[in-house]
Symmetry: C2
Subunit: 274 residues, 2 copies
């Protein structure tokens, strides 16, 4: 398989967390990346039109806003608060011309996964009118089963695709992240089905380190772990995905280092391993 | 659902790791547990007939020997070494009258899961003559996907049942551990199928803590986490399982404390949450 061109690669702002978004935009563009995915914390205190303009002027494509979701709740107050925050996420996405909000769907250790999944479906459906009004896609991101206790009750691709199909809106799809899904023995088949059903909205890459030192903040750079990223990219492209490949790496270790060197390593790894 | 009786519960020696096996046998029996599952490290330096006799005299049932497996290899030398060690595990099981060896099947970050799965199947098949000669069952334990890099390439129940069926020996089945499998959206259906196919050999319990502080050594006591253990026990029993429920908890935190108090807490939690 051919290597990707950096213009086909986007970087999540969280990947270079120490940088304010203004620096991230400037450096991603200068390094030749094609896009940016914006985490909401990076927008704090900013005017959305100014951020949108800077991204456009830099020649970057905005792939998504991360993240909405956390639909699980223990009472009506929690539900209403979560809903209001998700409405704001959709508005922020529209405000920076991001076509999509990525959803980390939520879970709660005090309730069963079945209950959480029902709340997730209901929560997404409740967002549809606003998503339709602003033409913003909603991408369900299945999370690794090690996050099933309190982050997401959607833990494999089949469940995510099924839920998107059940909701049935063309605005609802799935974000495939190799970190969360690489272990799934049905991954090739499920990626094909997700694409065939028109639900394959996003593709995230990073790697799985051995050993993994922290369950949240020790993701690896592509090539330093065991995930067959290029093989999975092949499945995703065969399934019809034409979007940018998004680099999303949470790494306390990398955030401590020089971010310019880190971005250069990401560019290099994108060419070699995506 | 009715609570279990302690005579239906076995404890893994690793759960009370600080105790030598002689102490574990004596205390498990005194507390009213029905069985013991023996980890191989607990047998070091012991004569097998003496251990077997002490377990029998204490009135305990030996449920299994833990663990064989680690079938994945990078060269012929590694393969042969692993095979020899698995032969010893089968002989040790027979030596203490344990009817079963639990298999942690292995994985290697430098090879694909498909390659690892092929090596696992081949490795188990190669053990069959010895397992048949000594009439020892082999139980494939699917491990949580967070261990897919270097511990096991068998990460859900469907894959384990399929492999046992493909091997096709009545001596090869599956160990269901709630810690590894609780998140699986198909768990109820897959437990039913595993039982129907005659492959449901063992049932392990513990709990999943939020947050989990260590990926290996922070398992929870039943009731202190989010796993619906009693519901899963119901599925397992409905699938025809009649064996003992095995408590297997790796916990650095608990190992640091008083082991008599810990065993009393396990007995209490078994009655309340299994």
């Amino acid at each position: 398989m051919e290597a990707v061109d950096l213009s086909q690669v986007a970087v999540h702002t969280i990947t270079t967390k120490p940088w304010p978004i203004e620096t991230a935009i400037e450096r991603y563009a200068r390094a030749g990346f094609g896009g940016i995915t914006v985490w909401r914390d990076a927008l704090e205190g900013r005017e959305l039109p100014a951020v949108r303009r800077q991204i456009t002027d830099a020649g970057l494509q905005t792939v998504a806003l991360v993240r909405g979701g956390f639909f699980c709740h223990r009472n009506e107050e929690e539900r209403a608060k979560g809903h209001a925050d998700n409405l704001r996420a959709i508005e922020e996405a529209a405000g920076i011309d991001a076509p999509m909000v990525v959803l980390v769907c939520g879970a709660h250790p005090a309730q069963t996964l079945a209950v959480s999944r029902a709340q997730i479906r209901e929560g997404i459906e409740r967002l549809l009118p606003e998503a339709e009004r602003l033409n913003v896609q909603l991408a369900i991101e299945p999370l690794h089963p090690m996050y099933a206790d309190d982050r997401s009750a959607i833990n494999d691709l089949a469940t995510a695709t099924d839920m998107a199909n059940q909701i049935g809106s063309p605005l609802v799809g799935v974000a495939v992240d190799v970190y969360h899904l690489w272990w799934d023995p049905n991954l090739e088949r499920e990626i094909a089905r997700c694409g065939k059903d028109g639900r394959l909205f996003a593709f995230h890459v990073c790697d799985w380190r051995t050993p993994t030192r922290h369950m949240l903040l020790d993701r690896g750079l592509m090539g330093e772990g065991c995930i067959p990223i290029r093989e999975i990219r092949g499945w995703v492209e065969k399934a019809g995905f034409k979007g940018l490949h998004e680099v999303e790496i949470f790494s306390e270790e990398r955030w401590k280092g020089d971010q310019d060197a880190w971005l250069a390593a990401i560019a290099d790894a994108s060419l070699k391993h995506v």
